[in-house]
Amino acid sequence: MIDPVSGKAAGGSNEPPQQAVPKNTEEMELVKRARQGDMAAYDDLVRRYQERIYATIYHMTSNHEDANDLAQEAFIKAYQALKSFKGGSSFYTWVYRIAVNKTINFLKQRKNRAQISLNDLDFNAEHDPDLVALISDKTPRRDINLSELQEKLNAAMQKLSEHHRLVVTLHDVQGLSHEEIAAIMDCNIGTVRSRLFYARQQLQAYLSDYLK
């Protein structure tokens, strides 16, 4: 089953599955048509990437309304800047970069007045073996339910800096590779690795009660 939020297969192994980055002639044809003002072509491009873009922004902001606004603005900005898209990277990476920059700018402006407005967990969460194990057997607070755990996790995520949160979101939640993250964040792979390590350490410390 494909998780509509992360845009990938839900459940299963601990290692996040790698997303195939679509960079094909069909996509380039859609970009070309959209550049010429074909709204139907752009509609198609939005449909392809809306879930991943929305999910990234949502996991960064922990707020559905903000994610909705920012995702729309990212696609609008991408359309308006479509003429500057040279095709050096895939359209997907390019849109991602726009969305990420927009989100980071937004978060910097919003600092200290973050409002968490979380989406509901889907039905599959209760049947995810990893999550079931986490809240039933080994957690000291066995009475905690998934919703409370979701709040704690999001609160811990919000304590990270924007760049650290972004790396965890892209890698551990959305399953992008280090190379893809480096391309999106416009930094080298070593930086991605070090940020990921630091972010995980921080999260582990914040959530130590729930990870024992």
């Binding site: 998780d3 509509p4 939020v5 992360s6 990938k8 839900a10 601990n14 290692e15 996040p16 709204m39 752009y42 509609d43 939005v46 449909r47 809306q50 929305y54 949502y58 996991h59 559905h64 994610a67 909705n68 995702a71 729309q72 609008i76 900005k77 359309y79 308006q80 800047a81 003429k83 500057s84 726009i98 989406n119 509901d120 967990l121 889907d122 599959n124 969460a125 995810d128 990893d130 999550l131 986490l134 998934l146 755990l149 979701q150 996790l153 999001n154 995520m157 965890v168 551990d172 939640v173 690795r193 070090s194 990921l196 390590f197 995980r200 999260l203 582990q204 959530l207 729930y210 990870l211």
Partner: protein
């Protein structure tokens, strides 16, 4: 530095919870329509110069090379403007004012004495400084040239 999965296995299990957070049902069905509607509205509102400006800003924001070139050209314009103002500021002083031009010519010819003599004389400087007025002061206020007509007001 190690980023081995086993080191953060529990954390990664917990992070899987975020994959189950979902927007309201049907959200993604309407999303592209919202984007396209906003784009069409924006296209209607924007016209001419405004559209060009926002596109230029968009290019500068998404293209670092273009932004760099733009910054360099602004700096170049600024520097050339300063250089031009400095050179043009000294230009008229040397050649624009006829009285001073004679003085400079005198200095360049090596005959310091006449220049010093003139500078010492206040009478001789006055016409030089007010050359325009000295030549024909009345012409600036010439009624015939300005096209104004004399009007008389009744005395109170």
């Amino acid at each position: 530095m190690s980023t081995a999965p086993e080191e953060f296995e529990k954390l990664q299990q917990l992070l899987k919870l975020k994959r189950h957070e979902q927007p309201p049902p049907g959200y993604f069905n309407n999303f592209p329509t919202l984007v396209i509607n906003r784009l069409e509205r924006a296209a209607e509102q924007q016209s001419g110069l405004q559209a060009w400006f926002s596109r230029a800003v968009g290019i500068l924001e998404t293209n670092p090379v273009a932004a760099g070139l733009f910054g360099m050209s602004v700096c170049g314009l600024l520097i050339s403007g300063i250089a031009y103002s400095q050179s043009s500021g000294s230009g008229p002083t040397l050649s624009g004012n006829s009285g001073l031009a004679i003085d400079v010519a005198d200095v360049s010819s090596g005959s310091m004495q006449p220049q010093v003599t003139r500078a010492a004389s206040v009478d001789s400087l006055a016409p030089t400084a007010n050359a325009m007025f000295a030549t024909n002061p009345a012409s600036l206020f010439d009624i015939r040239l300005s096209g104004a007509e004399l009007t008389s007001y009744p005395a109170k």
